[in-house]
């Protein structure tokens, strides 16, 4: 099998923009919910736009819930983006209470209007890295700007899993999280110009190893 990346399709959000970015980098990728194709991929991207509850329901309906947990525990590189980051956590309070994949322990909560001002946060904000040696941020300057669109953010139980932090209004939140072969970001690297493109390149390079 030639090298390829699986972008998990759970029928929500704009999966095409990640696909197009990988095409731009001459990297083979496939938008799929097919178990074999996901298993055979060299790396997996869990994208996401939409609501947490609906997305988890879609994952369960396609029997992807256990598959993602199994693959990540076996060491498959996984990159979660935006809602795809939220879904890796234990639980979310977005429109009710929903259980997540629990690959990273912690919860997803809403911004508080009194602390941040306008919700959602829409626009470019900076990320300060806590470990500049991490593979995903190589050749990306600390405090670089990335494009955010979100009303909820994740809080990991174990602070050592936090790779990047961002300040919105008076709230500092975890914008990048990592745990072994799993990396996830709150922002949209596929909409973050050069630094975002570099981040996907770094992920792909990690998958090649």
């Amino acid at each position: 099998m030639p090298f390829n990346i699986a972008i998990i399709d759970y029928e929500m959000g704009n999966l095409k923009s990640i696909y197009k970015l990988l095409c731009h980098l001459d990297i083979d990728s496939i938008i799929t919910s097919d178990h074999n194709k996901i298993k055979n991929a060299d790396g997996v991207i869990l994208p996401g736009v939409g609501a947490f509850g609906d997305a988890m329901m879609q994952l369960r309906q396609k029997n992807l819930f256990d598959l993602i947990i199994d693959l990540t525990s076996e060491g498959k590189p996984l990159f979660g983006v935006c809602l795809g980051q939220h879904m890796l956590f234990s639980q979310s309070s977005e429109m009710g209470y929903h259980k997540g994949l629990n690959i990273i322990q912690g919860k997803v909560i809403s911004f508080e209007k009194t602390l941040v001002g306008k919700i959602p946060q829409i626009g470019w904000n900076s990320v300060s890295f806590s470990n500049e040696d991490h593979y995903i941020i190589q050749e990306i300057p600390n405090n670089s700007y990335f494009y955010f669109v979100h009303s909820y953010h994740a809080i990991p139980d174990d602070p050592s899993t936090i790779l990047g932090k961002t300040i919105y209004g008076e709230t500092e939140f975890c914008s990048m999280v990592c745990k072994e072969n799993v990396i996830a970001v709150q922002f949209h690297p596929e909409k973050s110009s050069k630094n975002g493109i570099k981040m996907y390149q770094n992920f792909v390079q990690y998958c090649r190893k």
Binding site: N14, S17, K20, G123, W124, S192, S193
Partner: protein, 275 residues
Amino acid sequence: MPLTKRIIPCLDVTTSSNTARVVKGTKFIDLRDAGDPIELGEFYDEQGADELVFLDITASSDKRKILIDLVERTGEQVFIPFTVGGGLRTVKDIKEILRAGADKVSLNTAAVQNPDLIKEGSKIFGSQCIVTAIDAKRVYVNSPKEAMNNIVTQIDDKYCWWEVYIHGGRTPTGKDAVLWGEKTTKLGSGEILLTSMDCDGTKSGYDLALTKIFSERLAVPIIASGGAGNPRHIIDAFNLGKADAALAASIFHYNEFPINIVKEECKKAGIPMRL
């Protein structure tokens, strides 16, 4: 470092020939084909644009395929968020444009005529991708009592309210722009693209009173538009107008003030910018 203010070049495109072209004259030295929207988009991305807006000024539904093709191809080359507007009338139109790869759609005339379009669009696709564009023009009155049902602002020794225009600024609606803006956010609009018809094309600066009243009364980001002639105007839109983003066309197209220069000027003025 906080959330930055955004600088957004606007590309007016026409789909009247068989391909989408930028309408306003463009004189970039380095570009082979100055009229190609995607090349311009890439060029602006390179210069540091935070987002792009494509407005199809022909706005004809029979030429929708050309617009969709433009969106598809833009998404292959440009990796910053982009908004597409012009003639989108139905949920199906919105879906087609978003599916093709746009991050947001901008609704104007159709939203005024059918406000449920905002509601349905935001419910299905999320508020973050529904931008309501409002074209507003000052209506002067002698005293606030003359316009009891409108949001009247005092500007120096005069009073005015703002009226919503549709059909590309050709048709007055009698609607109060501020009240309409507030209603659109209740319906689910995630952002407002606010164009001053009084200032548009004058290069004498944004309508700061209009921008400010929207920014103060609405809980969603406001994109100021119409009137930018130099970096100072953009700084004023942020500092005095309290805008979240500033949109401009001609000052960027003619390269009078490249985006990177404008952003550096804003930064010097203390405005958070992505450089």
